[in-house]
């Protein structure tokens, strides 16, 4: 099973390879062959193919439907128009959806982190009995298809009156995300230097104090990666918010956008604008957290 060492979580990705290669790199830089240029060209073409859909969405979101009808999808807008965007913005009351998504994702990220830290403290540092099975249990919770929990959860939250309430989604994702967090943090805490813990307990610190004053601050880099991941994963969730947040005013951004597809009032540029508004928030996170994210994505897979 892939386990994650804390060092790998902290180390940054350096795409140029190992540092001590710089000399060789310089030596080679001059002998680029024709083949090398072809491979570069191929890599750039792949990049363009991946980016073209974004480009098309961006240019067409700023067209009027008439402009689209005459000029088609590929032409630069004849005139920058915010029609599509404003139409969609007002139709779904976009700020409200944005707020729902931010609220749900933020609360989930923090709650799930707290639960993960508590679990991982017991498993990784406390080495409680049967910890392997406990970790497997948490991992299972993360691997399960949400459909297998969907109807009973729907029934449960309906009977306690939390159906169609953002808190239902918050509670569910706190558990699902913390299951992954427990798995990851337990292995990180499993390698936590014992000397530090012993020194702290010699100073008379209680276990509770050690956790919040020693362990959490030291593992902050890992925790911040987790926090960002929990936020984005929750933001991107679909099935459970779709099922639980039925009324318009509770919906999250992806649900609001998806549920209007195929609507009669959605003309071609409004649909494009809906996709644009859906991708802008995640694009912003990506730009802000790019470094942390690349660290985290790779940390998850590195042994």
């Amino acid at each position: 099973m892939a386990t994650i060492a804390p060092q790998s979580v902290r180390s940054t990705v350096d795409p140029t390879g190992k540092r001590d290669n710089t000399f060789k790199v310089r030596k080679r830089k001059s002998n680029r062959t024709v083949g090398d240029w072809f491979i570069l060209l191929a890599a750039i073409i792949v990049g363009l193919l991946i980016v073209v859909p974004f480009y098309l969405i961006i240019i067409n979101s700023f067209k009027t439907a008439g402009d689209y009808a005459t000029g088609g999808a590929l032409q630069w807008p004849a005139q920058i128009s915010f029609d599509g965007i404003t139409k969609f913005w007002n139709r779904v009351n976009f700020p409200e959806k944005l707020w729902n998504s931010i609220l749900i994702s933020t609360v989930v990220a923090f709650l799930a982190m707290i639960v993960s830290v508590l679990n991982a403290y017991a498993i990784g540092i406390g080495r409680v009995k049967g910890r392997t099975w406990i970790v497997v249990l948490f991992l299972l919770a993360n691997v399960l298809p949400q459909e297998a929990l969907l109807y009973p959860l729907y029934f449960m939250f309906k009977s306690i009156g939390l159906y169609d309430n953002v808190w239902s989604v918050i509670i569910i994702f706190t558990v699902i995300q913390s299951a992954f967090g427990t798995y990851l943090l337990s292995s990180v805490y499993g390698t936590f230097p014992k000397e530090i813990l012993e020194a702290a307990s010699l100073d008379g610190a209680s276990r509770w104090t050690i956790l919040w004053r020693v362990i959490v601050p030291i593992s902050r880099p890992t925790l911040s990666v987790l926090l960002i991941f929990f936020f984005i994963w929750t933001w991107n969730e679909f099935l459970i918010p779709l099922t639980f947040l039925v009324s318009n005013s509770n919906q999250t951004v992806p649900i609001a956008i998806a549920s209007l597809q195929g609507d009669r009032l959605m003309d071609v540029t409004t649909t494009s604008a809906s996709a644009l508004l859906g991708l802008i928030p995640t694009l912003i996170f990506f730009l802000i957290f790019q470094r942390t994210l690349t660290r985290g994505i790779t940390a998850g897979a590195v042994k």
Partner: protein, 326 residues
Amino acid sequence: MATVPLSQAKPGRTQGSAGDGPTPKKGGRLNLSGYWLYLIPGFILITLIVIVPLVWNIYLSFTSYRGIRPPKWIGFDNWIELFADGKFWTSFGNSVALIIAMVIIPTLVGLVLAAMLFDLIGKKFGGRLASFLRATYYLPQILPVAVGAIVIGWILRPDNGALNEILGAVGLSGLEHNWLGSPDTALLSIMAVMVWIQIGYPVVIFMAALQRVDPELYEAAELDGANWFQRFRSITVTIIRPEIFVVTLTSTIAALKVFGPIYTLTRGGPGNSTIVPSYYSYSEFFQSQQVGYGATIATALTIVIVVVSVFFIKAQNRAEEAESDR
């Protein structure tokens, strides 16, 4: 607040362990009793939100339940129906198509792209260019899948979509098509969406893994006359095998769970040409109100996912053992 007595109870105990502390070489361990208290909140939550619903769902798969009157026990009837249900097998067939689109293609292409970026572009054209291209490939991964699906769905629009326009512009108007609306291309279109979304994930993981490859190994192989492909296969693929396992496992699980793109783009149609197990069970739960049967599909999907995971992990462990025996 409930933690206050807890923290007060601690010092006494830790003092005890502090007594062992000065001789760390001999005893050298902290008092480990009582840590299970920290598992209580996590355990209560996972029991309520995962274990109880999971067991409940398995129970429902043995009942006839339409969501209103209490479930009625019918034994294995749902399961027998499931095995004879062509729609169910179609949905799993489509999952296999999604595995091709989300696991096989991205892993193979991702390996080549990662090797290209790392070995060649990173070294000969500079790391900045390589990491820029890597970020470009990764871009679709950050989108909510449903939004990613809408982006591609928009391009595949039947009447005035961008793809049909491009085909017309290059003189291939004969290929213009209602991509998502015809049974012959709907699944292929969904697969294209998933390839686009997925491709960046293996690239990023594999590029990080490639940093472990010792360049001297490569140079030695080069001197021995191994060509690029031979070096790639015998050195690169061997060294980054753990990452290949992780990527294939996580992507296979993701492929079996696909729901958002199907819901937003095709709702399983036209006909059943893009139905997948998760969408099938969802529609049984909330559209046909056949909750018992929906639970059966969901349980079957769970079993498949658990079996696939166990199989993968076992295979990886075996490969690791074989490696260390060498």
